[in-house]
Amino acid sequence: MIPSLHSARRPSVLHIFKVYYPDLFGGTLSVIRDICAGLKDMFSAGVLVCSKSGGKSRIVVNDVAVERVRSFGDVLSLPAAPAYPLRLWRRIAEHDLLALHAPFPLADLVFALGFGRSRPLVVHWHADIVSHAALRPFIEPLMRRTLRRAEAIIVSDPVLIQNTPLLREFADKCHAVPFGIDVAKYDPPAPRLDRVNARGRLVLACGRLVPYKGFDVLVRAAFGQSFEVWIVGEGRERERLEQLIENLGLQDRVRLLGSVPESDRIKLMGIADVFVMPSVTNAETFGLVQLEAMAAGRPVVNTSLDTGVPQVARHGIEAITVPPGDPDKLAEAINTLIADPERRRRMGEAARQRAATKYSAAAFCKGIEKIYREAAAAPAPAVRASRAAAIGWPATIQIAAALAWSDMRHRYVRSLLGPFWMSIQMAIMVAVLGSVIGHLSNANAVARLPMLALSLTAWTFLNSVVLDATTALQNSASLIKDRALPPVVFLLQCVFRQALFALHNASVPLILWLVLVPKEFGGAIAALPGFALFVVCTLGLGLVLGALATRYRDLKPIIESGLMLAFLSSPIIWSTEMLNHASTVMQLNPLTHLFAIWREPLATGHVAMSSVSYVLAVVSVLAVASVITIARLRKAAFWI
């Protein structure tokens, strides 16, 4: 062996899943555990999961560091752990390889938004989303993005690639690595050589008590028969199953054993006569427990799902396969086996043989190791996120600022006043509107002029940013296509450019304020946070609407008239007392609150909480939309 020269440190793998020991036991978890243990000489492992129990957040399970993020219960089979995506994002940089155990939409959210691109990703596809089919249209795009970004996708059986439409799209990077099992653990205790019980009638099933496992079908199958059924496992279906057993009067023959330690489960596998896996949906992709039963030399009854289940234990050789959800056929199959000890012995031997040869733990670990190694060796940025990511945000902003600065200089070319022409326009508008409003209301019109001028300046800024942004990308097509500048540069350019113009315009309210109002600075400082929010909103609006209007050209006139309507139905030129406070449209209009959060502190020193919360809601919606927009802008070159 040649010692490797460069990698004294083992690369580290972060396993990403929703739950881990000791909060739950199950097939997926034992797969993660086996990978961690089997590859521990080559890869160091970490696990990031959610936990309802609220114990310590960092624990060690079987020598593996497990970090648990607090979850507040399950919503639609998903842990409600709002902190998980953020924590995942922060952990990504600490590892060399990411192993996502899908389905786990909470993690898809992180990858779909383009975070964590700096590390290679391997997806272990454990199952498709079956239970909440209505949510599929929302989750599938996320999953697709994750899969697109992944270096490799690992499934337990090749049949899953053919039968899962989403995986078929990425068939070229799917690898089938069957789960493995250490058969030696299931060796029978020495004295008991004859492992088939001639008068056997003990039927064993294992699994979490959840609907897709189909244990209710097994209970029904036991009705009117003579065999005994022991079901190992715990879960939310327990009460329903107990009720069913009671209703059918099967308490003496059907027992729910609850959770059982692994060593005891191995013993149970050893004394059972028939192992049944009655799963009813394709959420069961492989059935690790049936492999355990096979290792223990038990004949299997399984169901004909479109997954690996009937491929692992094959009908007529290691198993009898029955249609899912059919208690009569299930009972018939169990009875066939119970009545025929010779067949049970033959099937059991075939099963053990298959488990030992086809599904060895060593082959599983070797297969995973190979894929991990290849993925970890893949060039770091698998797919370039965008030029913005390649250039970096500071440079992007600098370029946008330079372009905006040159735009403003352009206004001064061949013109002495430059953008101040617009300020003069603004001054005239303020004068005219001010005199008209002075006639409409009895309040002192002159005293209101500075506020009117400031409001108009701010409105002009917002309005021009949005309108400018709707055409910005088309106008900069050559810079985007020929110089490969990131499209977001030009949307930022609009904001910066209009900000520079707004600073020119701001001379009007500034002069009016200096002339007309007694100097007082407290209000101005109190208005700053609100004003910052206003600018942030403008930036977000510019980004989102600018990109949308480039993609959908018919939006521009809609945006124009929408802005005009919003302007007219907001108290920008009208003052609130002129309008009697009560207009619902005005209260719903975001512009009203967007202006209120800085105008009210300026005028009165305090601001209504409702306005603040309204604006914060708008900001957070815009923030999400902006993140999505920036991701979408990768395709902007196609639109122009």
Binding site: P379, K481, D482, R483
Partner: protein, 246 residues
């Protein structure tokens, strides 16, 4: 170290017709249940190219064979629909010289803006050096570009675009400056730029040029690689360069 790795890269170029830009159409189509997916054309079909430092790759092929699209994909303008795109090193795409020029500004300002766009902080020394290369009169630096003849404009743009070395240089057609006196000098400068870059990819119809400058020539047709040719005497250009320098 600069490197380009394209592995099984495909690019489906969406062909947006007039109606595909309409949100109303799209929403109505979806409501009616008759939403048709945007037709796409496979502009790049399963292309794998690996290049490390020293590679000079020529892209040849008829119009519409995907040369420019491939360059833009490498530059990061278009995202790949599938496959791997792994690129290290800073890319300078010289796909069009006119981008970002403002004819109303004086030449010096245009130069500094173009430098800023390519991420450099312009200094007066840089601008003077670029100007010296154009061989134009000093006072013309202070004239707006719209007063320049097209030949003079090309000189300024060429001098600016080629002022700094790149790790990865992408050229769509050899940048030719038609002015007779200038073209030899321009050619020499471009050759120098090519020789300094770690990786160069040139798309061109000029086979002789590609044979002279490239270590490998990739022939494209309808987005696919037809074949890859390795010209034998790819070391021709340093000699040529030396001759011209002498």
């Amino acid at each position: 170290m600069a490197s380009i790795i394209l592995r099984d890269v495909c690019l489906d170029y969406p062909l947006y017709g007039a109606y595909d830009f309409s949100l109303k159409r799209r929403l109505l189509g979806r409501l009616a249940g008759a939403s048709t997916p945007t037709p796409t054309i496979r502009a790049i079909d399963n292309i794998s190219i690996e290049a490390s430092a020293g590679a000079r790759i020529g892209l040849a092929g008829p119009n519409g064979s995907g040369k420019s699209t491939l360059l833009r994909l490498i530059a990061g303008v278009y995202p790949a629909s599938s496959g791997h795109v792994g690129i290290t090193g800073n890319i300078v795409p010289l796909l069009g010289l006119n981008a970002g020029v403002n004819m109303d500004f004086v030449a010096a300002e245009n130069i500094s803006l173009l430098l800023r766009i390519s991420g450099r902080k312009p200094t007066p020394a840089m601008i003077d050096e670029i100007w010296a290369f154009t061989e134009l009169e000093e006072r013309m630096q202070r004239l707006p570009l719209r007063m320049f003849s097209s030949g003079m404009l090309m000189r300024v743009l060429f001098a600016t675009a080629t002022a700094f070395p790149a790790d990865i240089l992408l050229l769509d057609e050899w940048l030719s400056v038609v002015d007779e006196n200038f073209s030899a000098k321009a050619e020499q400068r471009l050759l120098k730029l090519v020789s300094q870059a770690a990786i160069v990819i040139i798309a061109s119809h000029d086979h002789d040029l590609l044979r002279r400058t490239c270590t490998s020539i990739v022939h494209l047709d309808r987005g696919r690689i037809v074949n890859t040719v390795y010209p034998e005497i790819h070391s021709a250009y340093p000699f040529e360069l030396r001759e011209k320098r002498a």
